[in-house]
Structure formats: structure tokens, C-alpha cells
Symmetry: C2
Subunit: 235 residues, 2 copies
DNA sequence: GTAATAGTGTCTCTGAGACAATATGAT
DNA sequence: ATCATATTGTCTCAGAGACACTATTAC
């Protein structure tokens, strides 16, 4: 039941973040969820979000996003963030008519989580086998779809890898995001294109994978930008 | 000045439509504007929009879009509509903190306009040489950018042409949207692809352009869908 | 040496860019 | 026939798919 001391409101506009991360141990994509403290759905795992109407804390929607990112609900640096869409209806929140503007975010670093935070498998949340309150499953599905479609024609998946990575790591993140094998020659050619365009630079350093020949690394010269390729991978 | 009898609200969430059309006489893209009746900016030309919070008329955001489309502010059938984004800040509306979820829409038919409606040149509005109230110029610029980027890899511009059109008409709408010449062979190959994919069918009919050989027409078999090509035009 | 993986070379195929050559209507 | 434009054909080029081949480390 809603807290009876809370003011009744007839409209809510929230922002919700889908913060994605590569779990290097299991080679799986994960999404950050928060255990809700307040009703409705207190105790359930849900997307980190805040209400943007009804207060004057933020001057812009982007300020609100930054406030959420900086709060304990997220509390980590983001390598990438983009708005995916806005949904709204009379049913998604039991309290009242509500809208949500939701975002795709990617974190590349390993981070310390709070007690109330946990990374869950993205696939399970996107396909609904891990059930979330509100319509959060469908928001995650939309974000996942955006990620997959952008992986076909942009360098977005490299955001998961941080500032320095190797070609084999790039191959595996693209395969993981697209959920199918990707030819290493295609990825190498794309990395070459990005190097020519001064998005990447060879470091001369090497890292070792598991056995076999060490991997040369490149560094990201434009950490905040994605490169757009002029062709798609075939589907 | 705001109407003093209107209730004061501390937050507004609106939807705004950028309804685009091809003016066949001048071969220019146009955008539908409304002369505002209410303050603020009464008498100014602005995007058609409605407030979605503070009422229970609509069950979903899409219902609200349909209500706006069906109202006298728009009042015409739309061949295409897609959400482009949501902006919000404390300054864009002089009344209060406000957000706008805005859409790209395309109308293919010629329509009768109301007294308060008029189509303006899209380019002038998008580049700010035709000034609109609120931040409507930047919304139009974002919609224009979406249209141009989608023209590189999808059949979206064909939505301007209606259910039956010719290859030369397709060439000219792509050239117009991209603001540069487009090879007719490229367009023909794309139309061929769409025909193979059962998005188009040759009608056997012909129409006459201005002089010269008549143009064969094709009909759109999936009027509500855009076809996605697997390569982009070069930029 | 062998195992295992990294990195290179080469071939095919699709579709865009460019432009020449031919077809079909109006006058 | 001439004009103007539509339509087809041919060539080049870039980049993805596929896969063979060579290189470099650990052991």
C-alpha cells in the first residue's frame, strides 16, 4: 500500500536508467538494479530512477540525469549515456498517471556496489524471465533493442571495454551484444578504419589472454564518441 | 500575460508534433505550424502540441498523440509518426518547469487547412531563420536531423509520396531530404530491393512528368512500414 | 618441439558511385 | 525527326563474409 503520509499527486514524470556493464568473468552483459526502499514495490529490484516533476532541484532534464547518476542509486561514472524514449500511461504506476523517460548507459570500470545495488543478467531482464515491477521489463527490452541495432553500424559496444582494449576483446564484445559469432577480420577492418579516423591509436603495449599469443592493444582517443560505420553487419 | 483565471501549475508535460509535407509546386519540405490562441505567445506560430499531465482524458501517451492528431491543431491523416525525443528544463516555458516529448510525422496527402494553420519551409524553421517561441526551433532541428539520418539507410522519405509513385519522384524526394544530388541508379536499385521484399509492386501504370518519357509507377504494399537498407549512402 | 591463440592475406559477393547507351513518350 | 526525360547496362570501388595461412607466445 502507498504510504498514506506521502502527498497524493496526479502525475509523475520519472527518468529511469538502464546501466549496462560487461561482466568479464562470465562474459555476460549485466544491468544495474536497485532494491526499492519506498512503496510501491518496496523491496523489489527495479531500475534506478527519480521523479523530475514536483521539484525545482534540477534546471534541466540532463541535470536530473546527472543527479541520479551521482546519487547512491547509481553512483558510478558512465562511459556513455543516451536517451532511448519516453512512455506514459495511466496503468504503469499504481499511484497515478505516469511517464518515464529512459536511458541507455554503459559503465566500463569495475565499481563497488552498495548493499541495495546488484547487477542482473541483461538477457533475463530484457526477455522477462527476470520480472521487474512497473513496465521496467519493456523499458529494458527497448534499451536492449537499441543497443543491438547500434552494434550493427557503430562502435558503441566498445564503450564496454574502457580506454584500452585489444582486437580479440572487441570481437568478443560485438559477438556478445549481437548474440552471434562475428568475423574477426570484419572487426579488425573496422578498428583499422577507426584508427585512420583518429578515434583509436595503437599503444604498442600487449596484454595476455588465456594462453596463446599476446594481444596488441589500442587506446580510445575519443572516449565520449561513437564512430559510425557506413555499412551494417548482415543480420 | 498569462490568464489569471487559469490554475497555476508547477509542471507541464506536453507532446509536440512536427508534421512534415512535400510541397509539390515548389519542391520544398514544409512543416505545419499553428497560430497560438492562448498565452504564452498568443498569436505566434508554433508547433501543434497539447498538455498531457493534469488530466485523465488519455489512457496512454499514444492516445494523447492520437487526440492531438485528431484535433483541429492537426486534423489530418499521418502516413508516418515516430517519437524523436524528450527535452525538459526550467526555462523553455515562461510559466513553469516543462518537458516536451516531440515527434516526427509525415503527411502525404494534400489537405485543407484551418485559418489558424499554415505550412512553413522546414529548412527555415530548422536553421532558425524563421523564429518560433519556446525552444521549438531546436525541436524542429532535432526532427530534421532524424529525417536526414534515416534517409541514408531507410525508405522513410518515400512516406512523402503516398501510395503510388515513380522512380524519378523517389530520386527527387531523396535528393530534397538529403539536400544533394542522389544517383538515380542507386535509388532504382533500392526500389528493386524493396520490390523483391514485397514492400513495393509495379502497377503497370504510367504518369507523365514535364515532357519526356512517361514514368512507370509502383505502389506501396506496406504503407505503414519503412524498409531498412543494409548500407548507407555515402556522406 | 606442440598447443593455442593472434594477426595477415586472399577470394567472393553485394551494393553504391559514375556514366554511357538505349527506350519512349510529346511536339 | 527532334527533344526531353526514363530506363537499362556496365564498370569501378569499398567493405562484409569466409577461410586459409603465418606469427608469437607459454609450456
Amino acid at each position: 500500500m502507498p504510504n498514506p503520509t506521502a502527498p497524493t499527486r496526479d502525475y509523475l514524470h520519472t527518468i529511469d536508467l538502464c546501466v549496462l556493464r560487461l561482466c568479464r568473468e562470465t562474459q555476460a552483459l549485466k544491468i544495474l538494479l536497485n532494491r526499492r526502499e519506498a512503496e510501491p514495490f518496496a523491496g523489489h529490484w527495479a531500475l534506478p530512477g527519480i521523479v523530475v516533476n514536483g521539484g525545482v532541484e534540477d534546471l534541466t532534464l540532463n541535470d536530473a540525469v546527472e543527479r541520479l547518476r551521482n546519487s547512491s542509486k547509481v553512483g558510478m561514472p558512465l562511459a556513455w549515456i543516451e536517451q532511448v524514449g519516453t512512455v506514459g500511461d495511466a496503468f504503469r504506476d499504481p499511484r497515478c498517471w505516469s511517464s518515464s523517460t529512459f536511458y541507455l548507459a554503459i559503465v566500463s570500470d569495475a565499481v563497488q556496489l552498495g548493499e541495495h545495488q546488484e547487477f542482473f543478467p541483461l538477457i533475463g531482464v530484457a526477455d522477462g524471465s527476470i520480472k521487474l515491477p512497473f513496465d521496467h521489463n519493456s523499458l529494458v527490452a527497448a534499451v536492449h533493442e537499441r543497443l543491438v541495432s547500434k552494434a550493427l553500424y557503430s562502435s558503441l559496444p566498445l564503450m564496454f571495454l574502457g580506454p584500452e582494449f585489444s582486437a580479440p576483446q572487441a570481437v568478443s564484445i560485438f559477438s556478445l551484444v549481437l548474440n552471434r559469432p562475428v568475423l574477426k577480420t570484419s572487426i579488425r577492418q573496422r578498428l583499422l578504419k577507426m584508427t585512420e579516423a583518429r578515434y583509436l591509436r595503437e599503444t604498442g603495449r600487449k596484454i595476455s589472454g588465456d594462453g596463446g599469443r599476446p594481444q596488441s592493444t589500442v587506446e580510445n582517443l575519443k572516449p565520449g564518441s561513437v564512430y559510425l560505420f557506413d555499412r551494417c553487419f548482415m543480420e
